[in-house]
Amino acid sequence: MHGYANPARFLRLARLLTAPLLVVGGLWTLAVLAWGLLGAPAEQLQGETVRILFVHVPAAWLGMGGWSLIALASLSELVWRHPLASIAARAAALPGAFFALLCLVTGSLWGRPAWGAWWVWDGRLTSMLVLFFLYCAYLALADAAVRSGHGNTRIAAIFGLVGAVNIPIIHYSVIWWNSLHQPPSIGMAALSGKSAMAPEFLYGLLAATLGFSLLFGGVVLARMRSILADQQTESRLRRRAMEYADA
């Protein structure tokens, strides 16, 4: 990881990957969603609403994945002082918050016809809502650190690390507590071909998750490049202002 601590080296790699990730991820996702909407069969129990899962499951995965990235980057910032870690954490926050919100909204749209309710205070739903609030708080903390001008993002990093305790709570909520939400259907068993889910849904969900993940990667890289460029512009202008002041 420290090989990419040099911003110039990171930028070379990021410039190479950003557009391909967005283009390939976008086309792949659109193709999978078109199949999910028009080609996938309706499910015996859930009927047409099963199609919502091709948006809902990747959104849930990326909502949790985004915070996992924030936690790893925060750990890297606090322990190893990796210079790009706080930039990576800040870049992942807004996309992560978006996907956590998309997960909640699409879950609600699935729940209304399937459960007869837009919302229930269930362990899985509530812990996902808490994750969205954690994202909002993280965005506010990181923004405040940048606006204060001293660039100290340690408080946001500690918050990012502590907030990670919610990720296993979300994952195990359907096992620990009685829940309307179904238990995990995709796990290691799915990869070895022993999933309880019908193959056409399982492969569709995996394909949709891959497409959205490629898009997420492209968005995070674009946002990292944006933050890095802003920092470089600011430090150049500050240096020039000091040179004028000295002259």
Binding site: L33, L37, P95, G116, L215, R223, A229, T233
Partner: protein, 46 residues
């Protein structure tokens, strides 16, 4: 389902939100990156 809800209306709403929201996120991130990198190049040339 007991109320005779049109399931496809919920499906279309979820897809519309998913696609339009993701597209907006991608466009906003890309344009912010382009603007920031343009500002950096201008500051280098000045």
């Amino acid at each position: 389902m007991h109320e005779g809800l049109n399931q496809l209306a919920f499906v279309y709403a979820a897809y519309a939100l998913g696609v339009s929201g993701t597209l907006a996120l991608v466009i906003q991130s890309w344009t912010a990156m382009q603007r920031a990198e343009d500002r950096r190049e201008r500051s280098r040339e000045q």
